[in-house]
């Protein structure tokens, strides 16, 4: 009897706990109580989120989390990372296991609505590409009729792939794996002719190959992949905070506020910079953090341009051009609403 009772209580508790999305206490308050931002990341994609040789997580996605932690705690290291596969990531966010998901996740309509997520700042504009062996002598993705394609399951990649081959009336065989590493291993071993994922991912993964030069990335970009951070529905204060951390980093770059000169900038007379750095107005309070929040972010993490260059740009092994990810003033798509 006793055992039954315990089992029943446990089962019910587990069921009830599985969904604790809507709770009275806001995520920001919980984060403050906990003293950490719990951040969903991948299993290791160079430039976006991967531990370095000392075990410290580095990458453009990780820096987004660090910026959030810096704004709240004035300490970028108060981040706890939770590694998630592509297929587990939304469940982890929905169930409240993580506070924010920054994991090269494409913003799509169905995810934004029926999955119960809200997408905040787009920290990388990406698109899906194909990688093949140079020895195959292929110049365009339109020559891929009949090919075997390795991809990671539970991604927009899997769907775009089907769309692209359908639209171009080509046949293909899909081999889907749970993790990126398994996918790449299968491609390298010759199970597939083609490996497909976001173009940034192709560059990042090619670095891990034994002979990176044997592989080439085809020129076609077959989809729009705006990679963005996401939070759960139902907590607008936290949503605002996550969104404005990204905008603050963009505004900082646009106004020329860098990690090196942020202290001098505090003395600036420019009203836009004054509002950004909190020497004028109470913009931090509006999102529940101190008014010097942007100073904290820039001092500890840097502005968006610095983060980009350090992790995926010319200052990194990936050497990806700014391209679409440049500021709107320089021909890119990164555009932040003003702080006022």
């Amino acid at each position: 009897m006793n055992i039954f009772l315990k089992a029943a209580a446990f089962g019910a508790a587990a069921l009830g706990l599985s969904v604790t999305a809507a709770s009275a206490q806001g995520v920001l308050q919980k984060t403050k109580d906990r003293g950490q931002v719990v951040c969903g990341t991948g299993l290791g994609i160079a430039g976006f989120g991967m531990p370095d040789e000392k075990g410290v997580w580095k990458g453009i996605d990780i820096d987004y989390c660090r910026a959030i932690a810096a704004a709240i705690f004035n300490d970028p290291m108060k981040v706890k990372t939770v590694s998630l596969t592509a297929k587990d990531r939304f469940t982890a966010l929905q169930s409240g296991e993580i506070d924010v998901l920054v994991r090269t996740t494409t913003w799509t309509m169905s995810r934004d609505t029926s999955l119960g997520l809200n997408f905040a700042g787009i920290n990388y504009y990406d698109g899906q590409g194909f990688m093949v062996r140079k020895s195959m002598n292929i110049k365009s993705a339109l020559e891929l009729n009949g090919a075997s394609v390795c991809t990671q399951q539970g991604t927009t990649t899997e769907l775009n792939l089907a769309d692209y081959f359908r639209a171009n009336k080509m046949k293909y065989e899909v081999v889907a794996f749970v993790t990126n590493d398994e996918t790449i291993k299968a491609y390298e071993a010759g199970r597939c002719d083609v490996f497909t994922t976001d173009a940034s991912g192709l560059f990042a993964e090619r670095l891990k190959f034994q002979k990176p030069d044997d592989h080439m990335i085809l020129p076609e970009i077959i989809s729009k992949e705006p990679l963005a951070a996401s939070v759960r529905h139902g907590d607008d204060q936290w949503f605002d905070l996550v969104k404005w951390v990204h905008f603050a980093m963009l505004n900082a770059e646009e106004l020329g506020v860098t990690q090196a000169n942020v202290d001098q900038m505090l003395k600036s007379d420019n009203p836009e910079i004054k509002r950004l750095l909190g020497t004028e107005g109470k913009f931090g309070e509006m999102i529940g953090v101190p008014n010097d929040w942007v100073v904290r972010i820039v001092k500890h993490v840097g502005n968006y341009g610095e983060v980009f260059e350090r992790n995926v740009g010319m200052g990194s092994p990936l050497k990806i051009e700014r391209g679409k990810n440049n500021l709107w003033t320089k021909g890119g798509l990164q555009y932040a609403p003003p702080i006022r």
Partner: protein, 397 residues
């Protein structure tokens, strides 16, 4: 009178102190409490899903899936507008396929190894022992990865396939063989096969009855097998050999046309079969050792040959010990097939709780369905094995 009164007094104890009534009351209370917990948990989940504006319900079942699956037993393609519901069936059939074939392989191989371990030949016995100990004591996941990576991956690429008669090809995309295409009157061959099977069963029934009555024996199995071969052959030839083949052709990336067996399937099948066979071998050995030696001695004394002794005396008695643990092994194999996710075989877990769950985001529904499916498969297997067990069990008179 007095005795009556005493009796009445005994039956009219207050229900509060009646142990039977109390017991029932406790059971009812517990039952209500469990129902309440389930109700609370369910409504809690539903309310929370609603509050977070996460879609719920089973509406996704008929929504177009938009992705593809390589191995499918029924039609499924993103081009044809297949739905998530169809993806579920593709995954389920793939699970059943690998489980069914795996069970057959594991049983046959398990029986061979189990008997070999009892062999008087030292080398055969020790080899079987080493096999059982090595396989039983390493994790199945590791073995699957071994089969997939270490055995299948070093095969040549499709442009350098190993070919047999120019019809069968082996490469790192699996085995490709000619695809049989039945002609217009091929159905007659199926009918003839079915007829032969019916005749075979009838023949062995009559033969058994005759032997029981007269003691005369009739080689029913040999004749039945001959019928099984000859009848369909006659039907096939009479209809003018209506069977064509589609041969695989080399194209730029892969061999196209023909029937393909995917390496993921082969790896999973081998891994599951060899793993489970090691356990079955031990069950078989235990079963045979459980039959006392006097039984075979008595059979020999009656003049039965070695084969007859094994077939008629030892195995039927051993089966009583073997069947119950064998059932658990079949269930294990079926459930272990969900490890397919590790090597990219599109089984129910990989397709349904993988891609479908992720695309729809409806974890509660998808996981509930999947659990129900595995429960049904397991209960059905148990039921069938229990029926078989009842037939084999000792009939006490």
């Amino acid at each position: 009178m007095t005795t009556n009164l005493a009796n009445e007094g005994a039956t009219r104890v207050s229900p509060l102190y009646d142990p039977k009534v109390r017991g029932i009351a406790y059971q009812v209370l517990l039952g209500l409490f469990i129902l309440f917990l389930i109700y609370e948990a369910t409504t809690n989940a539903i309310e929370n899903l609603k509050a977070a504006k996460i879609a719920s319900g089973f509406g996704f079942w008929t929504v177009e899936a938009g992705f593809d699956i390589n191995q499918k037993l029924i039609e499924f393609s993103s081009t044809g507008g297949s739905t998530y519901g169809q993806a579920f069936w593709v995954g389920l059939l793939n699970t059943l396929l690998v489980a069914a074939i795996g069970i057959v392989f594991a049983t046959v191989f398990g029986f061979i190894v189990g008997i070999a371990r009892l062999s008087h030949n030292w080398i055969i016995a020790k080899l079987s022992m080493v096999y059982v100990e090595v396989i039983r004591n390493t994790p199945l996941l590791l073995q699957l990865l071994f089969w997939y990576n270490a055995v299948l991956k070093p095969l040549p690429d499709p442009r350098n396939s190993v070919s047999l008669f120019g019809m069968f090809f082996l490469n790192n995309r699996g085995v490709v063989m000619p695809n049989p295409i039945p002609g217009p009157h091929f159905n007659w061959t199926w009918y003839a096969t079915m007829l032969a099977i019916v005749l075979w069963i009838a023949l062995s029934y009559i033969a058994r009855k005759r032997q029981a009555e007269t003691g005369k024996r009739f080689p029913a199995n040999i004749i039945g097998f001959a019928l099984f071969i000859i009848l369909p052959l006659i039907a096939f030839l009479a209809a003018g050999s209506p069977l064509g083949f589609e041969y695989p052709k080399q194209s730029r990336f892969n061999l196209t046309g023909g029937m393909q067996i995917y390496p993921e399937f082969v790896a999973l099948l081998l891994g599951l079969s060899f793993y489970t066979a090691a356990f079955i071998a031990e069950n078989v050995r235990a079963g045979i050792l459980a039959v006392s030696k006097g039984q075979s001695e008595a059979a020999h004394a009656l003049g039965l040959s070695n084969g007859q002794t094994l077939r008629l005396i030892v195995v039927p008695q051993a089966m009583r010990v073997i069947i119950p643990p064998l059932t658990s092994q079949y269930l294990n194999l079926t459930k272990n097939s969900s490890l397919a996710v590790a090597i990219g075989y599109p089984d129910l877990v990989q397709v349904f709780t993988g891609t479908v769950l992720n695309q729809t985001g409806q974890a509660v529904e998808v996981i509930a369905i999947t659990m129900l499916v595995y429960l049904s498969i397991s209960l059905t297997t148990s039921l069938l094995m229990n029926i078989y067990n009842r037939r084999m069990a000792l009939v006490e008179r």
